[in-house]
Symmetry: C2
Subunit: 287 residues, 2 copies
């Protein structure tokens, strides 16, 4: 890949070497980039160094270290990211590009952007990929291959910096890269990701389940896969996108109640009509 | 497999050569059973004969034909099954065992049982398996291998006939065979299967979706797989199990609204508590 902006002479720092940070690092290193890391635990640095996931790393946040890097990617929980920038916003190199992986945007992007000096540019993005396992030890760049990558620029962003982050998405081999406003992103994510997690959690919370597995087909299994959930991350994401999420939950409840009324009233024509609509719309998602 | 009741000298008839009927036939024929079929279209008979899915079959319902069989398995939509038995209840051989694959029980089993002569015994069962494709041409006995098989006997059933149907489930290689009352079955299925289809259909009906695929992760895809739905079959199943389904829908709405209130009130402790519960319960379903 011949990148014009994300060139191999850039020094890249990843802050937070978990599943996503580790998978970014592993993918970039395999393609000849030089990736370094700051993370909490020395054992994660050691593991990552021994497995060619990073060149080197540290558990300490020092200005002399941070200020070497041209591109700094934050793979932290949103609130920890906010606290980090609050504390260390003047540690960056002049002209550095800052990027993140946060699953919510409006409540993060403007705050981060306002804390940074004028000569440091933050371009936000959201890699829509994950796994039900955590940590750098489970790093796996394949999780990006079928996945979507969303960039959410603000009017403070330069087109070159946006292009660099687009090249980052392409280099990580995301299947599809989109550009949305923070608000569009948050509405989309509230519906597609947060609402679905709320549904799965509620469904799984309905009844004790140890005996249910003997009677279940694939549908219940599919709908509750994501009920196995990281409660710290998701409760934070839900509250950081609260208004959008509540309005998408209302939209769903209204539709669900509409179907319930059709069933209660033996209104078979309207039931079938909704099913035909859902069948037609679901086809867009066939891979 | 050494069956005591489902022996190879039994003549087996399958009525309705669709995906399920065809997959039953194919699996049984591969194990040396002699399987015949009655179905609507001659082309399905021809295809099944040419592919060793059945020995032979017919599109006509004649007493001289039906009365040859020891075991008659109905793989029809519930209402078509009811109409069939209403018309032809006196066509069966004395001592024949009747079996079905219907996804609802209370509203079917007693009616069928009451229409049959005293010397014909109906043992109902529900193979919890399927595919998003239809017809004998898509027959595939592998769909049973990971799946559950539920037998719903009544107090009219003899233990030998129930054992025969248990052996049928084992011979078809279902992963797990259970015995439930019709009421327990219908409650279970309302929750595990019908409610999940209602959720998927409602979710997919919320908004136009052709652009959403560029922003979605796996969770939305998983939750809406079954929104691709056969509207004739499922609207019939929903209405035949209406009361149970409505009460499971209420249970889900209440739980979903509980989570919604926690989010609206920033009640992070209760949000996390529900997520921990859902995570713990989901583990029972890991394969």
């Amino acid at each position: 890949m011949n990148n014009k902006y994300l060139t191999k002479d850039l020094k890249i720092l990843i802050v937070g070497l978990g599943l996503i940070g580790g998978s970014y690092a592993k993918s970039l290193m395999a393609k000849g980039y030089k990736v370094y890391a700051i993370t909490k635990k020395q054992e994660d640095i050691d593991f990552a160094k021994n497995n060619q996931i990073i060149v080197d790393g540290t558990t300490k946040v020092l200005k002399s270290y941070v200020s070497q890097f041209d591109l700094v990617i934050f793979a932290l929980y949103p609130k920890i990211f906010l606290n980090w920038i609050e504390k260390y916003h003047n540690y960056f190199k002049k002209g550095a590009i800052i990027n993140d992986v946060s699953g919510v945007k409006s409540n993060i992007v403007y705050k981060i952007s306002n804390m940074l000096p004028n000569d440091v540019e933050f371009v936000a993005s959201h890699p829509m990929a994950g796994k039900e396992v955590y940590g750098v030890k489970n790093s796996d760049p394949n999780i990006f291959k079928d996945a979507n990558f969303i960039i959410t620029p603000t009017n403070k962003n330069t087109s070159n910096a946006i292009k660099l982050i687009e090249e980052l998405g392409k280099t990580l081999e995301f299947a599809n890269i989109s550009i949305l406003s923070c608000r569009q992103h948050d509405e989309m994510i509230a519906f597609l990701s947060q609402l679905t997690h709320c549904i799965a959690v509620s469904l799984m919370a309905c009844k004790p389940s140890h005996h249910l597995k003997d009677y279940t087909g694939d549908s219940f299994r599919d709908l509750t896969r994501i009920a196995n959930i990281n409660e710290n991350m998701w409760s934070e994401l839900f509250l950081l996108n609260k208004n959008e999420l509540l309005s998408q939950m209302d939209l769903f409840i209204n539709k669900f109640n509409e179907l319930k009324d059709y069933i209660a009233n033996d209104d078979i024509e309207n039931m079938k009509k909704m099913m035909r609509l859902s069948t037609k719309r679901r086809k867009y998602f066939n891979k």
